[in-house]
Amino acid sequence: MESPSLQVSKQNVVSKVKKPKERKIWMTFKNVYLGPIVAFIIFIALWQAIPVLLGLKHYILPKPTDVVEATIKDWDLLWPAVQITVIESVTGFLVSAVVGIFISILLASSKILERSIYPYAIILQTIPVVAVAPIVVIWFGAGFNAIVVISFLIGFFPIISNTLMGLNSVDKNMDELFTLYNASKWQRMWKLRIPAALPFIMAGLKISCTLSIVGAIVGEYVAGIGGGKGGLGYAITVAAIQVKTPYLFACGIAAAILGISFYLLVSLFSHLMLRSWHESAMKVEK
């Protein structure tokens, strides 16, 4: 998303004169969309050309056309796998959001609780979830449950640390205002700390939504399918064993599209929640 901006600014200088009416639309198109589109076309063209020029076999580096072909041919495998991964990661994400926010509020409502547990939350966060995934499988059995738990574990900590940071980020003057009106602890929580934490919570949700997909795919690697149908992670494992490289690429691209869509969805939600007041949601104006 960042890299094409150079290209855009160069083109800016070239064509300066244009009719004022068309100009605005053209300018937004040129400044915002043209660069990425051109970069994308060049990228695809290079990708198509390189395996041909170097004579690479399709199971080493498949061409975009090979990938499209594989996608169409194996659509009946790919589409159910995507659906399963969506269900796993959305479930994992929702559980981590609800549990994460709830636990944060609980911790933040008591200084003693927070002081004694927060350090462990930090330490736990640094444990690579892949390392504990097999334990999760032992506890929850192979398949859906274990995968959701792994996805939950990965998405959970960014939400806790962001929410806690937000709940403790209240402006000192606002805090004093609440003191002056003799606000109770829970009034302070609901009317001050939680609203003040909202931008932080949204940032946490954005991080954890993409992580929850990583979690689901990693979960499938480790926890398999446990008798049910497999998701993307399972499809990837199988395709790798069979050296179906074009299909592997299709799975990878599907996972990427999934991640991006999920991120955009959560960003939209965040924008709606914050648009009335927060600066980060204000860019759209003017």
Binding site: N173, S276, W277, H278
Partner: protein, 262 residues
């Protein structure tokens, strides 16, 4: 101490912050009901420290402060009598104008319908009846300060504490708000304690000025301003006004000279 109509009493108050800064030393002052009293002094002389003590934000390390013959903390816990206006308006950005003004009433747990009527009344007083649904970021600095004042008035306080409320505003807005504040003060029969480092502002608004000096912060003199209310902007060209400004400036300078020598 039993002075008639005394609403605030600073009784030889000292304040040393942890770290050793002596913000106030032997600060002794009695505020009478209905006064418009300004604390005037250079920055760092302890004006905010003194004002905040009246609202129970921070305690004296020497002597004591009483408000309506009670401890400030008790006052804010038990009554709506004290309201505080912060310099930066201090509005909640996620609440619109009306909801910001309703906040004190919500926290104190009043009847919803009455609260709304009260909020509308105070918003009308500050001329913001047409901006109920606006969010703070959509308002100018002057309008934000108006909302802040409306919020302070919402709980019908007997005393209004203001810490350099107009310090960040442009001159024209400041003058308008000064006039409006005087109107409100007279309508609502409140006592106002007002912190400023602006001599003109202090003289224009106040019935009495407490000039303070820095390091350590102490009261250096009290000046009664015998100019009649209501005061119009034209008061500023009145020779008596100019004399008061000179007098207050003199007191400010001598108190800071003292600081240089000491």
């Amino acid at each position: 101490m039993g002075v008639a109509n005394e609403v605030v009493s600073f009784n030889h108050v000292g304040k040393t912050y942890t770290g050793g800064t002596v913000a106030l030393s032997d600060f002794h002052l009695s505020v009478k009901e209905g006064e418009f009293l300004s604390f005037l002094g250079p920055s760092g002389c302890g004006k905010s420290t003194a004002l905040r003590m009246v609202a129970g934000l921070g305690e004296a390390t020497d002597g004591d402060v009483s408000v309506f013959n009670k401890k400030p903390k008790e006052m804010i816990q038990q009554t709506n009598d004290i309201a505080f206006v912060f310099q930066d308006a201090n509005l909640l950005p996620w609440r619109n104008v009306l909801d910001n003004v309703l906040l004190p009433l919500e926290l104190r747990g009043g009847n919803k319908k009455e609260s709304k009527q009260t909020a509308l009344r105070v918003l009308e007083m500050v001329g913001l009846k047409d901006h109920l649904k606006s969010y703070p970021r959509q308002l100018s600095g002057g309008m934000k300060m108006r909302v802040s004042i409306a919020r302070a008035l919402a709980a019908k306080p007997r005393m209004l504490l203001m810490d350099e409320p107009f310090g960040a505003l442009d001159e024209i807005t400041r003058q308008t708000l000064q006039m409006e504040l005087l109107d409100i003060w007279q309508q609502e029969n409140m006592t106002v304690l007002f912190v400023t480092h602006n001599v003109y502002e202090a003289v224009f608004l106040s019935s009495r000025i407490a000039v303070m000096s820095a390091r350590p912060g102490r009261l250096s003199s009290l000046i009664d301003i015998d100019l009649p209310y209501p005061r119009e902007l034209s008061v500023r060209t009145n020779p008596t006004f100019t004399e008061y400004v000179d007098l207050a400036s003199d007191h400010l300078e001598t108190s800071s000279d003292r600081k240089e020598i000491g």
